[in-house]
Subunit: 485 residues, 2 copies
């Protein structure tokens, strides 16, 4: 795999090795998996000076951002190591045999815990070349859970992908992980071929709705469909009440502008829709604020897509541009804010409420706060939804409507910056993702590559360690229905 292309023979070797490595890795101890994750983290931190310059060349992102992304990536790997050591993610449940159970029907001894799915195919993202790429969240959670990993490199940063993969592989060699546990492949067709291979047991993706849906459909078209976790599009609506607008208009305008232009607006959590009252303080301030300079877009393909979507939007009669229009189409693009009415957005959401991946957002104006509820009802699945309100506002119904439609709700904050924590939820109903029950950020992400297996009537010495009577791993478990820490 010296060239940026993977041949059919090379892919066959990768998949065969990945399956064999899975057989070994799935039976490895938590200590061993944790050690591998921390070793990868240490080596990535040590290699940052080599990797960041490659990323600078390939992505148009700036150095400070890239360095902080490396740090986020290695933090994530180490956090998964902790999750693995703790072991509660296995959700171990033990029911002792009980002849009195179910009105005398009785129950046998049954013990259940989660086990890894198998080789995982990870389609990486363009906009986070470290944190959602070769050594990113999906790779970390797959390795943590006992799966092997085949990464399909993003065409936007092939050199960085290869260099990162070398660091990961060296770390895995050092901890004597099985050969083939982690591999990198190149090419769109290679990715599609791998996704339909029977040895691949799950897939994940971060990118556009079009790309994610095509792969989701492919995964489901298999003779044996596999879970496919695609994180796709979101306009991340923000709702500002009249009271909040009046009291904190300046602050909201500044926060919004900063959030929508972060990373040149190429975040999946960019606030792409801002609902404001007519006569808004926030809007007045937005008109006068100096727009921050944004960097060039990640690559030419994304730039073309952005300019096409933006061009369609500004051409619509119900949309007005705040400020100057021309420089939004230059390279690098200047941030651009579009404006329309809530009523228009509700009438034609498929044209107006669309993701525009770059430094553009749409402000929609309302006359009555009831229109916010109607707007919320118009929305499809979102990664995030944000409310800016004051303590006297009655937004109970708005919160309820938005909770139905999104994975994360924010109160008087901004959705960009997805912290890697225990309670994080980065997901949401379709089209935000294809699996609303899953997250791609945070410790709960380890669940996506696992499934439950129950053992009935097994002698103690034949049980997996997590389910043995004496609890040798000292796990929190549910025993006869009661949680035990």
């Amino acid at each position: 795999m010296t060239a940026m292309h993977t041949s059919e023979d090379e892919l066959e070797a990768v998949l065969a090795a990945s399956w064999e490595a899975f057989e070994v890795w799935s039976a490895s101890t938590a200590q061993r998996r944790a050690a591998a994750l921390t070793e990868i983290a240490a080596r990535l931190d040590a290699a940052a000076d080599d990797l960041v310059p490659i990323a600078l060349r390939e992505t148009n992102l700036d150095e400070a951002r890239l360095r902080s992304e490396v740090s986020r990536t290695t933090f994530q790997l180490r956090l998964f190591a902790e999750v693995v050591r703790e072991g509660a993610y296995l959700d171990p449940r033990i029911d002792h045999a009980d002849a009195t159970w179910q009105a005398g029907a009785g129950r046998p001894d049954i013990r259940r815990a989660l086990e890894p799915l198998g080789p995982v195919l990870v389609f990486t993202a363009s906009n986070f070349p470290f944190a959602f790429s070769v050594a990113g969240g999906d790779t970390a959670s797959a390795l943590a859970s006992g799966c092997s990993v085949v990464v399909k490199a993003h065409s936007g940063h092939p050199e960085l992908s290869r260099a990162t993969a070398e660091v990961v592989s060296a770390a895995l060699d050092l901890v004597q992980a099985p050969a083939g546990l982690f591999s990198l492949v190149f090419g769109t067709e290679t990715g599609r071929t791998a996704l339909t291979d029977p040895r691949v047991r799950a897939g994940s993706f971060t990118g556009s709705i079009q790309g994610g849906r095509a792969l989701f459909d492919l995964a489901n078209s298999r003779p044996d469909p596999i879970p496919f976790f695609a994180e796709m599009g979101s306009i991340n609506p923000t709702f500002v009440t009249r009271a909040a607008d009046r009291r904190r208009g300046e602050q909201i305008a500044e926060g919004f502008l900063a959030s929508m232009t972060l990373g040149s607006g190429q975040f999946c959590t960019k606030p792409g829709l801002l609902a404001l009252p007519r006569g808004s303080q926030t809007l007045a301030r937005l008109r006068s604020l100096t727009r921050p300079a944004t960097g060039r877009l990640l690559n030419e393909r994304l730039r073309e897509g952005y300019l096409r979507t933006l061009g369609d939007l500004v051409a619509r009669p119900e949309i007005e541009v705040i400020g100057e229009r021309a420089r939004a189409f230059s390279d690098p693009p200047e941030p651009i804010i579009l404006m329309s009415d809530v009523a228009h957005a509700i009438r034609d959401p498929e044209s107006l409420l669309i993701e525009c991946f770059g430094p553009a957002s749409l402000v929609v104006l309302y006359d009555h706060e009831d229109e916010l509820l109607a707007l919320a009802r118009t929305l499809d699945g979102q990664l995030t939804a944000t409310i800016h309100a004051e303590s006297e506002d009655d937004v109970t119904e708005l919160i309820r409507l938005l909770a139905r439609r999104s994975g994360r709700l924010l109160w008087n904050q901004w959705p960009t910056g997805v912290a890697v924590t225990y309670a994080q939820q980065h997901g949401g109903p379709y089209p935000a993702t294809t699996v609303a029950g899953s997250t791609s950020v945070g410790t709960a992400a380890i669940g996506r590559f696992l499934r439950p297996v129950a053992y009935q009537g097994f002698p103690d010495e034949r049980l997996p360690p997590a389910l043995k009577e004496g609890n040798p791993l000292r796990l929190s478990r549910r025993v006869d229905g009661a949680l035990q820490i």
Copy 2:
């Protein structure tokens, strides 16, 4: 809906009411949902004398079995009520804001818990007219989790479906649940139309691979795909070591015959494949045992399918019939045991290792125990896999291989009889189910109709009760990474 047919207008009314009921029910307290479940259970128990005779007429199942199934069904409803009252199924996680988190990048206050998906469409099973039908497991877990339910009645027991639905509705009226929370519809096309309706947010199914796959494909073909939990086919392989065969051949033969003929072999966990050593004691005993009388099959459609599959199998040159063949094709059918070699099964698994839904199973003979590993590697996804072995047997690799391919492993027991418990897992890799991470029996089944929602930076009074700082619901929660009971 007086006739056994649901018109388009009736379906529209059902779905509109289901959506409205969901809006109310999803915000209901745990107490209210638990009360509804226990009321349904009480009314079903009280109505057993009316319902069982209808089931007798429609299903060919006997009274003792049907009465015990009612009891299982109401036990299940009451157990879900307990799960709801306990509340740990919400998996509440609280991360307090922490500026030192992630090497100073910091984290905001984020709190996450599971919330219900929306109206659920339940396609019921033919073989458990109570426990996997109108008031069965999926209805119980959907109502428990805060979803509304539309049940598509099985054509095999329409009168019973209607009578059961009346009992459920009366119970829900009594506890003043919202109108439309639970509905029954009839007709294959009605089911397909409902599954593609945007108001339906999840589906479940129990039945054949063909039927389940068609609905799974339909659910995924939607503009907004929804989770579809189909529990389908499984041959539930059983592996007997030479030592176990020698020591307990008689007992294994008796256990196998009892398990494979239970419910006339119409259980999704029927042991359909039994691997025995050549010269087997078990086989000798099987040849001499009197076959138990089995009842008529559930309905004419299933009987035709069974006879067709069985006919194909007995016509194969590599298959021998143990005992008499003719009465296996009579009505009611006599149990039939087929015999072949492990080598044949491995050579042509698609012809030989298929589910035959009725009182028929295939015995395959091996010369060396290594063949058991090869046979295990041949298997696709299974609900269960069973090992009969002795303490001196080395079956570590066999256990590992079977754990990869099934949802539940049994040791010296039989797979029929799926106890409703905390640790139960009734599921498995495709084609056993379409979602290997889920179960349709046991308390973990409540998870299938839920998804996580995170709240970031919310004032305490705006948070759902499960996530409030003071823990008013007294739930087990994960706070700043640590489990707290």
